[in-house]
Symmetry: C2
Subunit: 308 residues, 2 copies
């Protein structure tokens, strides 16, 4: 009798694991440290042992995994934060589980987070969803007709590395310049504010800080500081531009904003909408934007969704 | 006994109709003039009558339609070239056919052309395909997991109206400026060449012509004229940029080039590839580009694919 879905979200610091019933209700969650020694080769066994210690294998319908790297057909192509080169995750887990009839699925963590929001979050029940995760970096995921778009090279939803900025051209970790991530991640927003401060002669409370966070820029913008409003407008315009292209390509039912930067909430959405509508006119005349709701649990929900 | 699929491609001048066997082999094709009188209200009946005159209805499994406008759930939202406002095409055809058990499907013409290439053309057998149709305008279509992406607003694959040009900012028919179509359609290429000619002081054979076609610009570029090479480089860079965003979003198996401009052939593909690879690096290191092969028949093949 199959009673449970297991969702596993493997991060660079810890692995989150959730036990769900077949309807996607989270029954229990826990986490274990990510053991990155020896090129991360202990991680998978640690996860399987931890599940084994808590859940009867016969009762598990499937185990889904979210991992921080591109994934193709159950194979993790690389995951720098885990020390992994090409890793046959699906195969390895299957070998560790032995003869139990358990479905295994693997996805990229940002993609899987989008799936989580479709399963039990802000896009519950939607068939066609785009999610943009604005954190330290920028990731994303696309659910089309209820399924994750993995992509031929495992880079479906890799919005963070769309080249959008031809002005500042900040260097990106990926080796290019001007990627979406360089302006609209938490790090990018701070970099953009600092760059604009260099030539700004007016007053802004931001000048009182040696260092500051993206949240502070948002807070001052919300309080009406024109300098910070200008920074957020550029961030919002950049996001809107990238999303407009996505919309004129796949025209999703809803676009979700997740990650730390999305804690700026409705203020962020309203600003992106303002720039987005002219880019998609006259073909699209509304902006179906929403905030993600599952926060750090999106990964385990989405991993469970993969094997529902 | 169901023996045939019918594919109907409704254009502003003529309607192409194809009769296929269930394996997608084209058995017979013909066309009828598009009667645009009275807001195009005779078109659908003309098509049904024409099919009726040639094929026994009982033997038809399905009839698919491609129409020049956005389509959502069998409803054509508008089709300016046919004189159509919102048109309940699927419903109308069903009513005209009476009690026969015939599947009806409707899609946007550029989307349907992409489906045609998947059915029997350059992307035969591929599950995830992007097609860009470079003609008088620029259209496109996306097949994801074997199905057309229609989109919430019926604008899936509407690549032509992505805003990509912030330099020339040519006015687009859609009301915006700088859409992909304004630089990379046949018309756009000519406009771009004329604009660059205004300030070009060197020699180019193009200066000997009062007016010229996109094909002429390509021909001179292929023959090594630096001015025309520069024009094509800008066109190719613009296409590459738009496609890079599409690839970092949905990462298709293959990208097809169709429409009159694609007759420039491998030369076009090679130039787009040159600019594309740096935009998608390091996530994608190859350009799976190909030329569409069905030419003007892509529409009837694709319409038949919808009801296969």
């Amino acid at each position: 009798m199959k009673d449970y879905l297991i969702g596993v979200d493997i991060g660079g610091t810890s692995v989150k694991i959730g036990k769900f019933n077949l309807d996607g209700v989270l029954l229990e969650k826990w986490d274990i440290p990510t053991d990155r020694r020896d090129q991360g080769r202990h991680i998978v066994k640690d996860v399987v042992d931890s599940i084994y210690a808590r859940v009867r294998l016969d009762a598990i319908k499937g185990i889904g995994f979210g991992v921080p790297g591109p994934v193709k057909d159950g194979i993790v192509l690389r995951a720098v934060n885990l020390g992994w080169q090409t890793t046959y995750l699906e195969e390895t887990v299957r070998a560790l589980l032995g003869n139990h009839d358990i479905e295994i699925a693997v996805g990229n963590d940002a993609n899987v987070a989008a799936a989580g929001e479709v399963f039990q979050g802000a896009a519950k029940g939607c068939r066609n969803v785009v999610m943009l995760t604005l954190g330290t970096g920028v990731g994303g995921g696309i659910i089309q007709d209820g399924k994750l778009i993995e992509g031929k090279h495992g880079v479906g939803g890799e919005f963070g590395h769309i080249v959008v900025d031809h002005v500042h051209r900040f260097a990106c970790n990926c080796g290019k310049n001007g990627c979406l991530e360089t302006l609209t991640s938490a790090t990018g927003i701070v970099n953009l504010a600092k760059k604009r401060l260099e030539t700004f002669v007016g007053d802004t409370p931001l000048k009182g800080y040696e260092s500051f966070s993206a949240k502070r820029v948002f807070d001052f913008a919300k309080a009406g500081d024109p300098f910070c409003e200008g920074v957020i407008d550029e961030v919002a315009d950049t996001l809107a531009y990238a999303l407009s292209i996505v919309s004129l390509s796949i025209d999703p039912d809803i676009i979700l904003f997740g990650g730390g930067v999305s804690l700026a909430g409705q203020y962020l959405i309203d600003h992106v909408r303002k720039f987005y509508l002219p880019y998609v006119a006259p073909f699209i005349t509304e902006a179906n934007f929403a905030l993600a709701t599952l926060s750090n649990d999106a990964g385990i929900y989405g991993a469970a969704y993969l094997v529902r």
